[in-house]
Symmetry: C2
Subunit: 188 residues, 2 copies
């Protein structure tokens, strides 16, 4: 029997990365598939740990060769999930977690309809805006774009299996961990 595919998604700035890292500490058996991106690294981000940072040309070549299970252009940058490690882990029976944007999740759903799709939502769009401002990494017009997208992306919730509101971090991590444990007990 193959492993389970957990897809963590939601608007930019909602805290997907932090949640994913915290839940991996508590569920050590999870495999994380590192994405490729053309976006420049943020201060704390490390090559091969947070992302594979590649240039536009390399990304487009990989895409042409069908090497991504999903890819998306988000706020002017490309993001993509390499196909091979995910497929191999699942085949070997490992559970895999992806942390991707809402467009990407939609593509993954086509190839993996039995994946477990988890939408991470902010307590409100107002709180999301605050968090994006605190991150300080975006110019003002990027912020506007992110907020407009967030508003649209919230409408995709109905296509997901679970909704976790990221209000108090510890509670959200506990819920995510619970979803993973519960899905491992689910009779299919």
């Amino acid at each position: 029997m193959g492993g389970l595919l957990f897809v963590l998604s939601g608007p930019s700035g909602v805290g997907k990365s932090t949640l994913r890292k915290e839940v991996m500490k508590r569920c050590p058996a999870l495999k994380y598939s590192i994405s490729c991106t053309t976006r420049p690294p943020r201060q704390e981000e490390k090559e091969g740990i947070d992302y594979y940072f590649v240039d536009m040309e390399t990304f487009e070549e990989m895409r042409e060769r069908g090497e991504f299970i999903e890819w998306a252009k988000v706020h002017g940058n490309y993001y993509g999930t390499p196909r091979r490690p995910v497929e191999e882990w699942l085949k070997e029976g490992f559970d895999v977690i992806l942390e991707i944007d809402v467009q990407g999740a939609k593509q993954v759903k086509n190839d993996y309809p039995d994946g477990v799709f988890i939408f991470i939502a902010p307590p409100s769009l107002k709180v999301l805006e605050q968090r994006l401002r605190e991150r300080h990494s975006d110019p003002e017009d990027d912020l506007l774009l992110r907020m407009t997208n967030a508003h649209l992306e919230m409408q995709a919730i109905r296509d997901y299996n679970y909704l976790v509101v990221n209000d108090v971090l510890e509670e959200a991590v506990d819920k995510l961990r619970s979803i993973i444990l519960a899905e491992r007990c689910r009779i299919r």
Copy 2:
């Protein structure tokens, strides 16, 4: 929106009661529906806490009046779940947990197809037999009957949503709690 109905079931002796009590300590918002039974109380059992202990005649009258959402004759004794508190709690938005045998769970599934059905299994039938012997409360021919039934009941697993193997108690409680938390995040 109504509450969720969690149905905990599995063979006699598998540890349903202990698990249900432990999980209720960790999920205080759960309402537990106390069953009626014609079986005599075990040493540690208390009227109105573990069961309502009633005589055969009272039980049959209640059954005739349709006061049970499920009832079953198990190893010569009647067990039944009173309908009213469950319906009212669910309507008021409370989550409810039932702890019932496999026959009873099948009846509840007819009325509540959207309930969350959780099968508690022993690590093996051999371990189940040991546990029943250690309980000391059954004569030898009851034990045989329980073991035969357990064997048959294991085949009902496919009608359930979740399977929790009660091997290490703490782990089984953690899984049960996770199922409850996860179902509260599920998009329906």
